[in-house]
Amino acid sequence: MTAKTHRPASVDAHPSFWHQLRIQRRVIWALTMRETITRFGREGLGTIWLVAEPAMFIVGVMVIFSHIESHATYSIAEYLAVSYPTLLFWRNGTGRVTKAIEINRALLHHAPIRPMDIIYSRILLEFSGAAGAFFILYLVFVQLGICHWPADTLTMALGYILVIWFSFAFVLIMAALAELSETIERVSHIILYLMLPFSGVFIPLYAVPEKFREILLYFPLVDAVEFFHSGYYGDQMKTYYHLGYSMSVILAMTLFGYALSNIAIRRVQLN
């Protein structure tokens, strides 16, 4: 043999948790790299599209909607620059994971690859793009004077993490449902569109009549985005949220998402 080869770690009947975690991290990274190159190629802007595409979306939305008349103390452009990018996580994420396991089934011949790794790698890639676009644009907008620094950085960061957590759970549920049902897969973009009023993005809660506000607060994403707003605006905008409630719901959604994914994965591997 010309090349010296390594033996892969031998299959252990009871691999330790840490060993499994290392394998899974390696596999998710490999799949993420594969997905990156598959989607963006090596030519032209290549991987920059990962961030450029959502960034163009954000700027486009800002340009169009900033001409709306407003009586607020902040500009619409500023509001959208901060708020709109939260939408990218759950909306674009869902688009990426539907039928991902079914399509990539052949990958499961490789023993280290577990079905969930395919979902994780796609979520990781999509979320990185969404977060990257937000961070870069935010820094640019602060320099341009469109945005200011957060009133309370920690709150804003925690709010952002809460939005990401919600999006993760939501995407997981949608991935599993799409795998289980053709119908859900077909109507998933309708679900995403109809979720917009409940996304906390287009109308801040203080501008909503009180009786609707009470209803909207039952949607954990609305709470998360409001909490995120409170970190950015501080006293400049009145915000509403029930953190304990939303975290419990998101936790329940996460567990439900995992349970549903297990059923979906089993179904795919049985058929």
């Binding site: 010296k4 390594h6 892969p8 009947a13 596999v27 594969r34 011949h109 023993a111 089993r266």
Partner: protein, 217 residues
């Protein structure tokens, strides 16, 4: 050791209104170093058996026990992403199995003889080129047991000879499971054989008897 215990596998037909039984209470035990040939006609369930062993599909009932590392089905080009180049696919698989990419690449360049095609998308490859790539990459990872699909025997003469050397001579100490509907490959390399027919796997006393029984079907 690989052990299949009482495996049943059905696939839905008629849009899920009925099931077709593909594997019916299948039992098989492959010890380290054993070379198994599984004979069966087209549609007998050979590929299903391979998918169960590789773990890509799960059986409806029964247990698969593995204490050996098992390769993906060799000559199985489908596990490649068509829009990626041969090199990128080699990179993916090196990462997944935790082996050094440059060593894999040396092996692939040396063995698959794809030349400049290594930097072209796999979808532009011929089926022979795909199986050469799959085979070469799998040689860079040291498995205890190789799963071999009959497709491998479609390579040209020169490639078949190289496979013989790499797989059956240099890695002669490993276990192998070869599924085929052609008997030469199995006669040449196997020391154990079984017949897959109507979902039932029958372990035969010898390779010659398995081949005789298969030819009598």
């Amino acid at each position: 050791m690989i052990e299949l215990i009482d495996i049943c596998k059905t696939y839905p037909i008629h849009h899920g209104r009925a099931d077709r039984l593909v594997l019916n209470h299948v039992n098989l035990r492959v010890n380290p170093g054993e070379k198994w040939g599984i004979l069966g006609r087209n549609g007998a369930g050979k590929s299903t058996l391979i998918r169960i062993i590789s773990g890509s599909d799960k059986p409806q009932s029964g247990t698969v026990r593995k204490t050996m590392t098992v390769s993906w089905p060799l000559a199985f080009g489908d596990a490649f992403q068509g829009s990626l180049t041969g090199r990128d696919n080699a990179k993916l698989i090196s990462r997944v199995y935790g082996v050094d990419f440059h060593q894999t690449l040396d092996m692939v360049e040396d063995f698959a003889e794809l030349g400049p095609y290594l930097s072209e998308p796999v979808k532009s490859y011929s089926s022979g080129m795909r199986s050469r790539l799959a085979f070469a990459i799998s040689m860079a990872i040291e498995f205890d047991c190789f799963l071999i699909d009959e497709g491998m025997s479609v390579g040209d003469h020169r490639f078949a000879k190289k496979c013989d050397v790499e797989l059956f001579e240099k890695r002669g100490d490993r276990a192998m499971i070869i599924v085929a509907h052609q008997t030469e490959l199995i006669r040449a390399h196997c020391d154990h054989a079984a017949l897959l027919e109507n979902g039932q796997l029958t372990v035969m006393p010898s390779v010659d008897e398995a081949i005789a029984a298969y030819e009598a079907l």
